[in-house]
């Protein structure tokens, strides 16, 4: 049975809040991993898995499902936390992140657990894998859609530009990229390291339909995904303007949080902040 869409914004916000809390809990337990990207992309993941996607957590291999490919594999804590929240596997398993013998690898391994549609870690590989899936879907006249989540930093890779060119050239309208436009990478701000702007124009030049959206406004994110379904003859990219570390004040907009987990004390503060946000949502 297909996953039932959640339309209440309040409910979606509460889900996003739970996912953020679980990201923090899994990272502090792991003692290594990435904080900024996962928190920044939580709202996009929430919109996808709880409203946009055609999927069934009880039947992950359902052939008609929409597929999500994660190209910037290092943000997998949000993928794991979202899949667990949606019922793909028990939430308790999140505590095994990055531990010996865990299915929750530091960078994702295909189908560990079910729902993880690709292996990732080396940036830009997911972009091409998603294109392969979209191409095969076209050949099979399948109706499902392919969503590929990407980071701004990985647009600096040659493979990424090759992928963009191919998808536009081949009119892959069953394919949607989302860019986590958080303006950071490891060595600093993207515009200082390797300027990506004008990013939207780059996509347009490669024959993509472009939508820009506030990556933390659930209603707008869902509208953007709905719009992608109406575009014919070209792939769509949603450039999601996000705040890295979103929801935890001391992590927000600081590139230093790219690749480290919170300490036990920092996690406590983060969870207090997120719990306060939860109360606010409930009282809305």
């Amino acid at each position: 049975m297909q996953f039932k869409k959640i339309t209440s914004e309040k409910q979606l916000k509460l889900i996003a809040n739970s996912i953020r809390q679980n990201i923090i809990k899994s990272l502090v337990e792991a003692k290594s991993g990435h904080s900024a990207g996962p928190l920044g992309m939580t709202d996009v993941f929430t919109a996808l898995y709880f409203n946009v996607l055609k999927h069934d957590p009880n039947k992950p291999e359902w052939p008609e499902r929409d597929k999500v490919v994660l190209s910037n594999g290092h943000i997998c804590p949000v993928w794991y936390a979202t899949l667990a929240q949606a019922g793909y596997f028990p939430v308790e398993e999140l505590k095994t992140l990055r531990k010996l013998g865990s299915r929750l690898q530091g960078h994702p391994h295909y189908w560990e657990p079910a729902g993880i549609e690709n292996s990732a870690g080396p940036l830009a590989q997911g972009a091409s894998i998603a294109i392969g899936m979209a191409l095969a879907a076209k050949m099979n006249k399948a109706k499902n859609r392919i969503y590929c989540l990407t980071s701004d930093g990985e647009h600096e890779e040659g493979q990424f530009m090759e992928a963009m060119m191919f998808a536009g050239n081949n009119h892959l309208d069953n394919l949607c990229f989302v860019v986590d436009r958080n303006n950071i990478q490891i060595d600093g701000d993207t515009e200082n390291i390797m300027s990506l702007e004008p990013l939207a124009d780059k996509y347009r030049a490669f024959k993509w339909h472009v939508i820009e959206v506030d990556g933390h406004n659930l209603e707008h994110i869902i509208d953007a995904f709905e719009e992608t379904k109406t575009i014919h003859n070209m792939p769509t990219v949603i450039i999601a303007h996000t705040i890295p570390g979103k929801g935890v004040s001391f992590m927000e907009n600081d590139y230093q949080w790219h690749g480290k987990p919170p300490t036990v004390e920092q996690a406590q503060v983060a969870l207090i902040e997120l719990e306060a946000e939860r109360k606010e949502i409930q009282e809305e």
Binding site: S32, R98, K99, L100, Q105, G106, H107, G121, M194
Partner: protein
């Protein structure tokens, strides 16, 4: 155990030995080289701190090039700079460089014989929790097959520094392999290091442990353990995988009659294969390869992974006991 006195190893080797990541040697070596040679330039692909190239960047910002997340482009740019008289050091994780940019390494650098040096960091399974995607366990195989390319795996940070400096002073392409984790300091400033010359760190006559990189320490620990069990093990630091030191390897093989290779790398194509090639052609004897057994790694702490994947001193001891029994 007969430690080679000419080698002058760290006096605290088996005591309270200090631990430093080998990649620190790369960072320090670059700074020293930069001082001596104004043509030395360092390129990095969004991993400045992890590769320790930030130390060079702080001192010589005008000779540091940030290319963004673009390893293929970085290798090509380095080739072009080398063909214009510069001595470029290309810095990233080994899985991406020489992993992703191997074609550019093969043609723009090696075929051209351009004077490019490649520093591959976070090599081996000890990168740990990041998981298999980030554990470079194939980089020795894919580099040692390339003509014109020298391949060096330093055993500690001091040797890492010497290797970086030596590579910068030598002409032609060089690949240098480094680890992320803090590992024991085996050598001192006075310890000899010469590209292409394997060093016998401990003498022995029952079995030769030929190791590279961080596994040299595990082999020394194993040799000490084996001594208690009545087995005399030689320990050879084979830091240069290519060109391999045929003479030294053949000599210890003749003396010991059995060889075990130890590396933090796939047993197929790495040090084990290189030594096997030497022995088969010169002095075939019983041999065992310790390393990754043709499988990918996974997330876990370095110690857990070394244990699970059988790359530590106790595994060496076990294999040594078995191999001496098979000797004629």
């Amino acid at each position: 155990m007969k430690l080679n006195q000419k080698i002058k190893l760290n006096s605290k080797l088996f005591g309270d030995v200090d631990k430093v990541p080998t990649r620190d040697g790369y960072g320090k070596g670059l700074v020293e080289l930069g001082e001596k040679n104004k043509d030395v330039v360092v390129l990095c692909a969004d991993l400045t701190e992890s590769t320790r190239s930030n130390w060079f960047k702080e001192k010589y910002p005008e000779r540091f090039v940030e290319v963004g997340v673009a390893e293929q482009n970085m290798m090509g740019i380095a080739a072009g700079m080398a063909l214009s008289g510069k001595v470029p050091f290309v810095s990233s994780y080994a899985v991406f460089s020489p992993g992703r940019n191997w074609d550019q390494l093969r043609v723009s650098v090696c075929y051209t014989n351009a004077n490019v040096k490649i520093g591959g960091m976070h090599a081996g399974i000890s990168v740990g929790p990041d998981g298999a995607t980030h554990q470079a366990l194939e980089d020795i195989s894919i580099t040692r097959c390339l003509p014109n390319l020298t391949v060096i795996v330093p055993c500690d940070w001091i040797q890492g520094k010497k290797a970086t400096i030596a590579a910068g002073q030598a002409t032609g392409p060089h690949y240098l392999r480094f680890g992320r984790e803090k590992t024991p300091t085996i050598t001192c400033e006075e310890t000899p290091f010469e590209i292409g010359k394997a060093d016998v760190y401990a003498d022995g006559d029952d079995v030769a442990l030929i190791a590279t990189g961080t596994m040299v320490y595990e082999s020394l620990v194993a040799a000490k353990e084996l001594e208690k069990l009545g087995i005399s093990a030689a320990v050879v630091n084979c830091h240069t995988i290519k060109p391999i030191d045929v003479k030294t390897i053949t000599e210890v093989a003749k003396k010991c009659g059995a060889v075990i290779t130890v590396e933090e790398h796939q047993i197929n194509g790495g040090l084990g294969s290189a030594v096997a090639e030497v022995l088969v052609e010169n002095h075939p004897i019983p041999m065992k390869r310790i390393g990754m057994l043709d499988t990918f790694g996974e997330s876990g702490s370095p110690d857990e992974l070394f244990k699970k994947y059988k790359m530590n001193s106790s595994e060496i001891v076990k294999q040594a006991m078995q191999i001496v029994k098979t000797k004629k």
